[in-house]
């Protein structure tokens, strides 16, 4: 099985189901100027809309695949966009999916993660806790007044991802409709996180013992991880013999 095959299938199916139910729509970036970049700290008093507050539902997922099936440039939204809600704090999920050729999975993970996390837009603050997969964002009153949309976020993310050599196609899905919808993706997201954790562990630890490793179950089900492990083992043995 490929790295995120199971999770990707699950999430893609859910997205298709939402599309079929008329809950999901595609956001168009056409005719919009790229939103200016710049780090921002949006204080509560300057906040028009909060997305993914830790007290509400929040989820951030990064998936990549060597298979086709990623619709390049697509920005999908389930729920209201920034200007379409009267709430001040809403649930939030951000699902980023890319496809391409990933020779070094570990490097690729870091490239993709950095492209996503280093995307900083003016008047839009993002905070991420990778181990919890939470993403907590604020749209400033100023940005909201200037018409900030999740299409701007989506387009910036996709652009940053497409700058990576290994990425061929990228798409993003946002969910703002309800905590239930966000949470329905949690099992797949957690599964993906365990794959990433196992991958990080493999590359970071010099000596891992599969028998005692807490990610053994992940490696056992995900064939690609097994292959990566074998490759790493061979590399280490090779360098030890020299």
């Amino acid at each position: 099985m490929a790295l995120f095959e199971e999770q990707l299938n699950e999430i893609m199916q859910q997205a298709d189901a939402w599309r079929a139910d008329g809950l999901a729509r595609e956001l168009s970036f056409e005719g919009r100027e790229p939103w200016p970049e710049g780090p921002s700290l949006v204080l509560e008093e300057d906040t028009a809309l909060e997305l993914g507050n830790p007290a509400v539902a929040s989820l951030s997922v990064l998936l990549w695949s060597e298979e086709d099936g990623v619709e390049d440039g697509r920005i999908t939204l389930v729920g209201p966009d920034v200007a379409e809600t009267t709430e001040t704090s809403i649930p939030f999920a951000q699902v980023v999916v890319v496809s391409g050729r990933f020779e070094n999975e570990y490097e690729s993970y870091r490239d993709i993660r950095d492209a996503v996390y280093d995307t900083r837009l003016e008047g839009f603050s993002t905070r991420t806790m990778p181990s919890k997969q939470s993403l907590w964002c604020r749209v400033s009153s100023d940005a909201a007044g200037r018409g900030f949309s999740l299409a701007d976020l989506g387009a910036s993310l996709i652009e940053a991802l497409k700058e990576l050599d290994e990425v061929e196609a990228a798409e993003v899905m946002f969910i703002t409709s309800s905590a239930e919808h966000v949470k329905s993706l949690t099992p797949a997201a957690r599964g993906a996180q365990r794959v990433v954790d196992a991958l990080m562990m493999m590359y970071q630890e010099d000596n891992y013992d599969c028998e005692t490793c807490e990610y053994q179950d992940v490696c056992d089900t995900v064939m690609d991880l097994k292959k990566i492990r074998q490759r790493l083992d061979e590399m280490k043995r090779g360098s030890g013999a020299r």
Binding site: P39, L43, E45, R110, D114, T128, M129, P130, S131
Partner: protein, 248 residues
């Protein structure tokens, strides 16, 4: 601009930090970060702001992240940002952070490293920062204050307090370098009490703050200094802050 309020124990550092926060508590003054760097934590009471999470809690959570493993530097720095946002208590244009008290003795330096990173990263995004430092020279010694632009030294009219203030100035000069510093003489009864100190000290004297009944009353009742009305102490402290270079 980052100002650290330093001095001997009990001379009025927390009071002056709280009044500074009060003076800056107005949209017109931009975003203001207020940091209680004293593990004993008096500024929280003085401002009536209770943090849900302290910097020490953040430290504990980051250590957990490291223990669990599988996280690289970038993950940790992103996580630190997130946890800091949780630790930041917001009140209008003010953001408040408290260092908190580590329960295991002997790990203060670890807290201080976290504190420094926290201040540096966050303070950059605020227009001004006020730090209520721990009494004495320990935090200066440990280079916790490296991002500080200005040291606001506080002393009462005692020779001991003046001595500590001068020592802090010297240590800071050695450890950090050329940032500014100035002295506020607190709890003086009259001008005449201040003159000899002015003549004697090498420090620049920014002003003196009278013993003030309104301050005593607020302190006695535990009322938030953010509500402090016009009073002689408030006027004097605001004046000193302006001299220190803060735009109020």
């Amino acid at each position: 601009m980052i100002i650290a309020v330093c001095g001997k124990g009990g001379v009025g550092k927390t009071t002056i930090s709280a009044v500074a926060a009060q003076a800056l508590h107005d949209r017109g003054n931009g975003k203001v970060l207020v940091v209680d760097a004293d593990p004993a934590g008096g500024l929280s009471t003085a401002l009536g702001l209770t943090p849900k999470k302290t910097l020490n809690d953040v430290r504990k959570e980051i250590i957990e992240e490291i223990k669990v493993g599988g996280r690289d530097e970038k993950d940790l720095s992103i996580s630190l940002d997130y946890l800091l946002a949780e630790a930041l208590t917001e009140h209008d244009n003010l953001g408040f952070l408290a260092i908190g008290r580590p329960e295991d003795v002997g790990c203060y330096c670890r807290v201080n490293v976290i504190l420094r990173d926290a201040i540096e990263g966050l303070a950059e995004r605020f227009d001004s920062t006020i730090i209520d430092a721990e009494a004495g020279i320990e935090q200066i010694n440990r280079k916790v204050m490296s991002p500080v632009d200005y040291i606001l030294l506080v002393a009462d009219t005692s020779a001991k307090a003046l001595n500590v203030a001068e020592t802090i100035r010297d240590v800071a000069h050695q450890m950090i370098g050329g940032e500014g510093a100035g002295l506020v003489i607190n709890r003086a009864r009259e001008q005449a009490e201040v003159e000899p100190i002015k003549n004697e000290t090498r420090l620049e004297v920014l002003g003196w703050v009278p013993e003030d009944d309104t301050v005593r009353r607020f302190d006695g009742r535990g009322e938030s200094f953010l509500q402090l009305p016009e009073c002689p102490a408030r006027g004097a402290i605001t004046g000193a802050l302006k001299k220190a270079g803060l735009e109020i």
